[in-house]
């Protein structure tokens, strides 16, 4: 771990966005055209900040003729996502294809399997109901991170019930069809055009395993995986991403009910989470971090603990297939 040498402040994540952007653009050109030997890049755009920035960086690096944006809505997607994705495309001059993946997901039983898993704990859950899964407040409480499901009836009545192991695994396994189907579609277009697929994870997501293995976690390059989300916003401003997209609250856009990333995964809002992750990586003491982000030292220590345990629990998501014996002729980083 690195050791901090300067006083900790909220400014530690400030970057020279134009300079950082230029470095990434050079890297994208090198990775795509030289190391991966592909003609261009596929970027799935959700209308969120991360995919918007990746699309903009790819266009700056390769030109708009070598970048294809995919808009991949499904039955639970917010209409806002389509609006923001189109807004981005218009702003960047980005070519797009729209593929509604709801039919594929229906055929795979995604919605049906998820709903059956929910009915294990809420039997009355049926068509017309909406759902999301949520975590308890981990920073202020000592509770384990056990998910509950929140369902809303057609009349607006909400019920929250703790998920059992089999219902939780059933919901997650079924819902992961969404990210994996999107990735399948991205690679269809990549194969069709001899393009590479760009992932859109930021550092917080990459470090903490906030992705589906072989779903949104799969990509040929991940241009912003080293940047804290706070820094991604700085790039967005520098790159001229539409202000509406910059101001849009981060959302998972995975469940029918609106779900914030804090409800689903991170124990703190992204800006505080970023600072905690930065500080944790540099062994900054909780007492020094706490006043900067408006938490108590105990809460920061708890956030550190969650960072460590989540990183440990999600480590396998990053691992490629493990061989029983080494094949020295095909190194892991083959082709680079």
């Amino acid at each position: 771990m690195n050791t901090t040498t300067t006083a900790f402040s909220a400014d530690v994540l400030n970057i020279d966005a134009a300079a950082v952007s230029a470095v990434i653009e050079t890297e994208i050109r090198d990775i795509v055209l030289q190391r991966l030997n592909r003609k261009g890049v596929i970027v799935a755009i959700s209308g969120g900040i991360d995919s918007s920035v990746v699309a903009a960086l790819c266009i700056k690096a390769l030109g708009s003729t070598r970048v294809l944006g995919l808009i991949l809505p499904e039955a639970d997607s917010s209409p806002d996502s389509l609006y923001f994705a189109n807004l981005l495309a218009q702003s960047l001059g980005l070519r797009t294809h729209l593929e509604d993946i709801a039919g594929i997901l229906t055929a795979a039983g995604c919605y049906q399997r998820r709903d059956e898993a929910i009915r294990k704990v809420i039997p009355e859950y049926k068509d017309g109901y909406k759902c999301k899964i949520v975590l308890p407040d981990q920073v202020n409480g000592s509770a384990y991170p056990i998910f509950s499901v929140v369902v809303e009836s057609p009349t607006g009545e909400r019920t929250k019930t703790r998920l059992t192991l089999d219902s939780y695994l059933g919901v997650v396994a079924a819902t992961s069809f969404k990210q994996r189907t999107r990735k399948m579609m991205e690679y269809y277009y990549a194969d069709l055009l001899n393009y590479a697929v760009a992932g859109t994870a930021n550092r917080l997501e990459y470090d903490q395993g906030f992705f589906v293995k072989n779903g949104d976690g799969a990509a040929d390059l991940k241009p912003i995986a080293h940047l804290y989300k706070t820094q991604v916003y700085q790039l967005a401003e520098s790159l001229g991403i539409p202000e509406e997209i910059q101001k849009r609250p981060p959302t998972t856009d995975t469940y029918p009910l609106d779900q914030s990333q804090e409800e689903f995964y991170f124990p703190l809002p992204y800006d505080k989470m970023d600072l905690c992750l930065y500080a944790r990586n540099r062994d900054v003491q909780p007492e020094e971090v706490a006043p900067v982000i408006g938490l108590t030292p105990e809460q920061v220590a708890r956030a550190y603990h969650i960072i460590d345990s989540t990183r440990r629990a999600t480590r396998y998501l990053h691992r490629p297939a493990v061989l029983c014996e080494d094949v020295p002729e095909v190194p892991h980083d083959a082709g680079t």
């Binding site: 384990y144 991170p145 059992t164 192991l165």
Partner: protein, 110 residues
Amino acid sequence: MVLKDELRQFVTDNLMFGKPCDGFADDDSFIERGIIDSTAVMELVAFLEQRYRFKLQDRELNPDNLDSVNKLARFVASRLEPKFAAELGPGRVLLGPGPLQFAGKNGPGT
């Protein structure tokens, strides 16, 4: 079988996947040792509820109750007495001065 031994067996078989547990003491924190994550907690809860026939309340799902073999044993014993022991009937659960034990061939762990 002593309750604590049964719980320890569950932890080593299902949460540690049978990995060597040399030096794994009954007071060791599952969290500190990296044994438990959210899925493992749910698996533990499912085991406790099915095996010992009581429903864990949300407020009970915390490390004070579940974060070591000894904590687990104390917690289960405290919940067993009114719920499960009565169902089993007199003499099936031995609440002696030592660790909680089960007795009788229909009790858990036999």
